[in-house]
């Protein structure tokens, strides 16, 4: 009798447990159910401002749960359920360190930078483009993402880098850019021909210690932070925080930066004004070009 009673209690008990479990799973998958555990107290007040749009974290919360939580996690630390199978890893919002910024290294990005990242997605990673969401929804998500780190409440975004108008694309500009590619030792990671195979490439890790590859210009893939010459300028001048890519803003003058942009374009397998000029020059002057790489490095014998 007692045994039977126990057995019944056990069965009933496990049924109850299963029900509770199922309910909580259902609750999690429900789009806008209130969940005080998600996000920080700032959810009520945090805003984003993108042009005329104002995003509200409170509205972004439900969207985050629906679209972002799987990878970025319920604590915003990039440890969602899918994260273990993803490389590169989802962004950890609690650190407030972002790759694609218009602002100097070590500073917070602008709301617009985050909005552009959500809109564009990150090519060659698992982060898709979120143009399926309305601009308002994306703005709301940006506001919500900012609740994960106290840096957003205590500090403000950096001042965006001033990018002067692009200089003329000439062979002189390309050749000078090539000199800079050697002198600034871009080739140490990106390789002498921009294949992402420089001597240090194999050793690179991100700030969490995960292996990371330098961009391979010959792949023809888009850049992670945009596609235009201005985007390219911004990428190396501000650096990709959290990755090995440093900022060159303190050491490269604007005109030189444009020269470097023009040279970098020649490393890509596209028909551009830069590649056309470069191919013609190589055909006539190829033999006079000093190779890029360790042989031309200072101190080499």
């Amino acid at each position: 009798m007692t045994l039977k009673k126990l057995a019944v209690t056990f069965v009933l008990g496990s049924m109850a447990l299963v029900t509770v479990g199922a309910t909580s799973v259902l609750a999690q998958s429900h789009v806008n159910s209130p969940d005080p555990a998600l996000g920080t107290p700032n959810v009520a007040t945090e805003e984003s401002h993108i042009g005329a749009l104002t995003g509200h974290a409170a509205s972004g919360k439900g969207l985050y749960r629906r679209y972002c939580i799987g990878c970025h996690g319920q604590d915003g630390n990039g440890e969602g359920m899918n994260a273990a199978w993803i490389d590169p890893k989802p962004r950890d919002f609690t650190e407030a360190t972002f790759k694609c910024r218009s602002t100097p290294t070590g500073t917070l990005p602008t709301d617009e930078d985050l909005y552009n990242a959500v809109t564009r997605g990150f090519v060659t990673t698992n982060m898709p483009s979120w143009t399926a969401l309305t601009p308002q929804q994306r703005a709301d998500l940006v506001a919500f993402v900012k609740t994960w780190s106290p840096r957003w409440t205590n500090g403000k975004s950096g001042t965006p880098l001033n990018i002067p108008p692009e200089t003329a694309i000439t062979i002189e500009s390309i050749l000078h850019g090539r000199e800079l590619f050697q002198k600034l030792e871009c080739w140490k990671c990106h390789g002498p021909a921009g294949h992402g195979d420089g001597p240090s490439a194999i050793t690179l890790t991100d700030d969490k210690g995960n292996p990371i590859r330098p961009y391979d210009f010959s792949s023809g893939s888009r850049f992670m932070c945009g596609v235009t010459n201005r985007d390219l300028y911004r990428i190396f001048m501000t650096g990709l925080d959290g990755s090995p890519m440093p900022s060159f803003a303190d050491v490269v003058q604007p005109n030189d930066a444009w020269d470097l942009v023009h040279f970098l374009r020649t490393l890509q397998p596209f028909k551009t004004q830069e590649t056309n000029l470069w191919m013609a020059y190589k055909a006539s002057h190829g033999s006079t070009l000093k190779p890029i790489g360790p042989d031309a490095a200072p101190g080499a014998q």
Partner: protein, 239 residues
């Protein structure tokens, strides 16, 4: 006449400056000194292959060793930061900057202590580009390229933190910025010794930080201007 007048003036100035010195005595005259040692077998520090950077390799007659567990004779443990973590925090941020060098593809010093908000100047003395990448978590993380001949990077940290520093171009380069709330600190030397001076009487928590092993602390009471001897022993493993 005139020279005598100047003499008198000079004497007066000397006297008053002397009185000023008396009027503001040093914060304290107690001190803590001691030695940091290890027990167990320390890991072998490996020679660094700098052949990929000839301009650095030729600066070293013998290969440089890694420094994460730097030992000396008598079981001495080097590069341990000993600092006051509880009690009088000493003087506020000094106006003098601390200097960090990238030389021969090494960080000099390997461990650089500083105070919160103290100016930090980072130099590249090499003929090669470095990127200096302090992996801070509490403070904002940044990463800057510093080609040869660039001016020093001027920066500071606003919060206390132990910040690992690396150069992504030369992956063997490792160092630490140790940002402290206190002005009472010292780094153990090659012989493991350290010396913290200028402590006012009081109760202190003395902490010892080493980059690879768990931190330690001890309670120390300073009375008057005594010198207390405090030693730390780190248990090390060969791997």
């Amino acid at each position: 006449m005139r020279s005598r007048y100047f003499m008198a003036l000079a004497v007066a100035v000397l006297l008053s400056s002397g009185m000023l010195m008396f009027a503001t005595p040093p914060a304290g005259s107690g001190s803590i000194s001691g030695k940091v040692t290890y027990t167990g077998t320390p890991p072998k520090m490996k020679p660094i292959d700098m052949s990929k950077e000839p301009s650095c390799a030729k600066q070293h007659a013998t290969p440089v060793l890694t420094e994460n567990v730097a030992t000396g004779s008598g079981s001495a443990l080097q590069w341990v930061v000993v600092y006051i973590s509880g009690g009088d925090q000493g003087s506020s941020t000094p106006s003098q900057a601390v200097r960090y060098d990238q030389k021969g593809c090494q960080y000099l010093p390997h461990v650089l202590p500083m105070q919160v908000a103290q100016q930090l100047q980072i130099y590249n003395d090499d003929q090669t580009s470095h990127n200096i990448h302090p992996l801070s978590k509490v403070n904002p993380e940044w990463n800057k390229s510093q080609p040869p001949g660039s001016p020093p990077i001027d920066t500071k940290y606003d919060k206390p933190e132990f910040v690992p520093v690396k150069c992504n171009i030369h992956p063997w380069m490792h160092g630490y910025f140790v940002v402290l709330n206190t002005s009472h600190y010292a780094v153990s030397g090659e012989d493991g010794s350290f010396d913290i001076k200028g402590l006012p009487p009081g109760k202190y928590t003395l902490a010892a930080w080493q980059e690879q092993y768990p931190a330690q602390s001890q309670e120390v009471t300073i009375t008057g201007s005594e010198t207390k001897t405090v030693n730390f022993v780190f248990k090390v493993l060969p791997y």
